[in-house]
């Protein structure tokens, strides 16, 4: 059993390295086989949750362990599915050379390591190394704009990790331990909660930058929507890498839980982030930037679930992590295919997809239905869980608003399919391997939605009365909402002069840092109240 966990962290790095040294096409297929085995292991782990595995002989709190529980396994499963389908998608691509494969597979090992490690310092080290790998991947094609994007990404994330490490240091001074379980019990024994505030504020600032919440998300669209990185890098970044921030936030919140309760703050930040995200997404016409800003919006939605009052909201947030990871990756790789075929990043210049490729249109529709929360699709089910039996009319209204915002910003994607082709495009066919990867992700989008209650029961052992017929009854409301959003888009939002100003809003490096400091001071003041 312990070997399986070592395998999850070390095997991708070893396989990547072997590919790099021997550089034979045969190893590419070997890599795929390994990727598949990770999915099988993650599915197996769902049946045996809460396992601890020692890394060294010494017991906790001085020893080191790897741990897998339902939460970490969900993230593990997401990363395995994404890496498998993305490798399948890009198997025949030119950029898949030995260096790229090495970096890509190492990133998978590091991400798995973060989700399995049970102490803060191990997580810090793994994230730091993964950040360097990611910034090299962002700058992979070495063109002019990617240098700035990669540099901003690297520096801001390093600053985030500096805050995080300082938080660890302060927490270590107060408690003398570093692993999650011992920290939780040590924190519960502290009488004066004011002593915990500084460490919490530092850790919270660090993970908030990583998770890209409201004032701190300026680095994300640049990094995730960068023109120069292959679309699978964007897919991994938006799909699973940004979720590391969410994962650490969940862990930190769990550790401090009875002493420091920031549910209301998380909830408020969640709503603000979600609304800001879709407003920016509506204003842009660059296809990758729309998707990148939407990641911000969906992160907000996940935070709303984490800050929710019922346990089911919390499960909804985790379920949304899974479903968002999958549909956003699908959207990003479709965007990559479209950018390559049409030769432009502007979504308004892409037309007539139905005439050019029907399967690609269907895939796009599946992804858009998932993100807009249609019944029978993964996004629909997780959004249903996040908004489960909400009584507060304000929260209900805001959730509705966020949903409408998402629908409005994806109307442009329907235009891509429906609008007639004006002049001929050299739209050569999509490879079979590319389609296999995309269809796999699309199958997950539908499976996680239609069989949502079953999957939820399997992962978290929660029974939910949400039948097939219940989903069917939600369909008319969804369609009417979409029609309403279409009318709002056409008559109010489209060509609105305000969009131009929103599009230009971009923080400089110093302003981003100022935002970080403000966020830190704000959270410290909030805790000291």
């Amino acid at each position: 059993m312990t070997l399986l966990l070592y395998y999850l962290v070390l095997a991708p790095i070893t396989v990547g390295l072997t590919q790099y040294i021997f550089n034979r096409p045969f190893f590419k297929y070997m890599g795929l086989l390994f990727q598949f085995s990770f999915i099988v292991i993650a599915i197996y782990f769902f049946s045996i949750p809460n396992q601890l595995f020692p890394l060294v002989g010494t017991p906790l709190p001085t020893g080191m362990i790897l741990k897998v529980d339902a939460t970490s396994n969900l993230f593990l499963f997401l990363s395995s599915v994404l890496f498998f389908s993305l490798t399948l998608f890009s198997n025949q691509k030119k950029y898949m050379n030995k260096l790229f494969l090495f970096l890509f597979m190492s990133l998978q090992g590091l991400i798995n390591g973060v989700f399995l490690s049970y102490d803060l310092f191990n997580a810090y080290v793994l994230i730091e190394v993964a950040t360097i790998t990611v910034s090299i991947l962002i700058m992979y094609k070495k063109d002019k704009q990617s240098m700035y994007d990669g540099m901003i990404y690297l520096t801001i994330n390093m600053i985030a990790m500096a805050f995080f490490l300082f938080g660890i240091a302060v927490l270590y001074k107060t408690t003398g331990v570093l692993d999650f379980g011992s920290l939780r019990s040590a924190i519960q024994n502290i009488e004066d909660t004011k002593r915990l505030n500084l460490s919490f504020a530092l850790l919270f600032t660090g993970v908030s930058i990583k998770a890209a919440v409201l004032p701190l998300f300026s680095w994300l669209p640049k990094a995730h929507g960068t023109a120069s990185a292959p679309s699978i890098v964007s897919a991994v970044l938006s799909g699973v890498f940004v979720k590391i921030g969410i994962y650490l936030l969940i862990r930190i919140q769990w550790m401090y839980m009875p002493m420091i309760d920031i549910q209301p703050l998380v909830l408020a930040i969640g709503y603000l982030t979600a609304i800001a995200g879709f407003i920016f997404a509506i204003s842009h016409s660059d296809i990758k930037l729309i998707l990148a800003y939407h990641t911000v919006s969906q992160i907000g939605l996940i935070l709303i679930g984490i800050g929710g009052s019922m346990e089911i909201h919390h499960f909804g947030a985790l379920y949304h992590v899974l479903s968002h990871g999958i549909f956003k990756s699908l959207l990003f790789i479709i965007a990559g295919v479209l950018i390559y075929r049409y030769g432009t990043r502007k979504i308004t210049d892409m037309k007539g997809l139905w005439q050019l490729s029907k399967p690609l249109s269907i895939l796009l529709v599946i992804a858009v239905f998932s993100i807009t929360g249609a019944p029978f699709f993964s996004g629909g089910f997780s959004k249903y869980l996040i908004g489960y039996r909400l009584d507060d009319p304000l929260q209900k209204g805001l959730l509705m608003l966020i949903n409408w915002g998402t629908m409005i910003s994806f109307i442009k994607f329907f235009y891509v399919i429906i609008k007639p082709l004006e002049h001929s495009v050299d739209f050569f066919s999509v490879r079979k391997s590319e389609f296999t990867g995309m269809w796999l992700l699309a199958a997950f989008c539908i499976g996680l939605g239609t069989f949502g209650p079953l999957v939820l029961d399997h992962i978290f052992h929660v029974q939910l009365d949400y039948s097939f017929v219940d989903q069917l009854t939600k369909l008319p409301a969804y369609l009417i909402n979409y029609l309403g959003c279409y009318l709002v888009y056409v008559y109010i939002i489209k060509d609105n002069f305000l969009l131009k100003y929103i599009r230009r809003l971009e923080l400089s490096f110093n302003s981003i840092n100022l935002a970080i400091v403000t966020f830190f001071i704000f959270s410290l003041v909030y805790l000291n109240q």
Binding site: V125, I132, M147, Y148, M151, I159, A162, L178, N510
Partner: protein, 124 residues
Amino acid sequence: MKRGFMKDLINGETVSICLFFIGVYGLCARRNILKTIISMSIMQAAIVLYFLSSNYESTAVPPIGKNLASLERVADPLPQALTITAVVIGVSVTAVCLTMFVSMFHKYGTTNWNKVKKKRSEID
């Protein structure tokens, strides 16, 4: 009396907290990319100092040798182990940042964040 107070105030922890926020000030107030990297190094150094000076006792003995159980006070070895790792990561991060900065300088020809940002927005 006053002198004793100052002596208490200037210890590893307070100095490291001040250093950390001097680094943060550098990030907020300086537009030069090189100074940004220097500020990040200052923050790293501050964290290392904090780790080493937290739980420091002047009478503690280094945890080296076999008969540690007979000693009264042994220094906590964990912060030192963590610090070594943090130092190594800090150095490698600075190296990567500097390498990226050099190649960015070749493309944009400036060390100013705002000028780079302006040139970057002209490309889109």
